[in-house]
Subunit: 235 residues, 2 copies
Amino acid sequence: MKKIKQLLSFFKKSVFEKNLVLLIGYTTNNLLLFQTALNHRSVKEHPTENNERLEFLGDAIISSVVADYLFKKYPYKGEGFLTEMRSKMVNRQQLNHIAIQMGLKRLTKFNKLDGGLKTSQIFGNTLEALVGAIYLDKKYEFTKKWIVNKMIQPYLFMDELELIDINIKNKIIGWALKQGKQVDFVLAGEQLEGRRRLFTINVVLDGEVIASQKGYTKKDASQMAAQKAIETLGL
Amino acid sequence: MKKIKQLLSFFKKSVFEKNLVLLIGYTTNNLLLFQTALNHRSVKEHPTENNERLEFLGDAIISSVVADYLFKKYPYKGEGFLTEMRSKMVNRQQLNHIAIQMGLKRLTKFNKLDGGLKTSQIFGNTLEALVGAIYLDKKYEFTKKWIVNKMIQPYLFMDELELIDINIKNKIIGWALKQGKQVDFVLAGEQLEGRRRLFTINVVLDGEVIASQKGYTKKDASQMAAQKAIETLGL
């Protein structure tokens, strides 16, 4: 009976309300708040009517929830790893990708004719604004679960994301192989910084040093050097 | 009677526990968590024993709470204003200043002999770690109140912060425009300091470098370089 009542009340809703329920997964009384979250600046100029304030808020909430998620998922990993994983999870492209898969492309109101419009970011920004609205509507703990269940679990594959940085070194090695060139990662130095050892790794391409980085572990230094080499080579 | 019991139990505590109660304002059972929050990397190398993981978490929580605080305090202001106010409230110097006033200088465990140590940031980082610990101990809503009551209300004077023009960079750009000169902020270098990237920004006036500063973010480095340039130019 309760299910039927819910179903009936669903069909009485406006198209916007129906879409919203399907998007956020619950019924809200704050329709205006969510309308604001879906308004790009190109359709509403005033700060109280477009989604930029909510985007500011939602961006911070997503960062916190992801920090908490990573802190607990990887209890033995250092801050550097956690920071890196977070930026893999919530960078502009990733958020935009998630937003489009959620269907935000159809729901976001924006003006295609606006010259300054970067459509590569707009849906990710709307997703941040949506999270800001959910946070204002339902507070932090609810929003935390929402982010984990609706954003992280379905769209972010942690095992794959973990592997991405390993591929940086492989990327150069693979590239060199194809080019018939020789690439080496060489330990070029080891110094003491306080009580800690600091390693310098050089990336050497056919005998020439093309990148050099320091790090507290050889692996860190190698990764950073590989990243720099990729930028230098324009790969 | 209850007050007396509380007082008696306070005197039974260890020195560390007493200091902790005075610092955070409540009694916790998670002593180990707070000990970790007060350990700088220079005294404990392992990620599970020093405060860097908690700093990562606390930094995000502070950003969220401040975003929420500003969102509600300034209901008609745009995202740009909110972002700027947040960076005035929680930049490195400000956090370090608050931390020292809270007494974290005496409670943080660090090794002065460590060469890589920047004491200008260490207490602010400890404060972030402390917030991370409070969040794990008492969840978000409690931590939110803690940040507002213990960090914002006593140490951050919003009226004054509103008046500070932190966008020093704009000041020089505006000045150069009036003078018919060309000013550029150029990324002159990027190096690794431990796991963190350190950026060097040069201020270039009509092709001549007039200031150069390093920072952990390009924005920080730009601001500091702009400050230096202003002093050099006597603006």
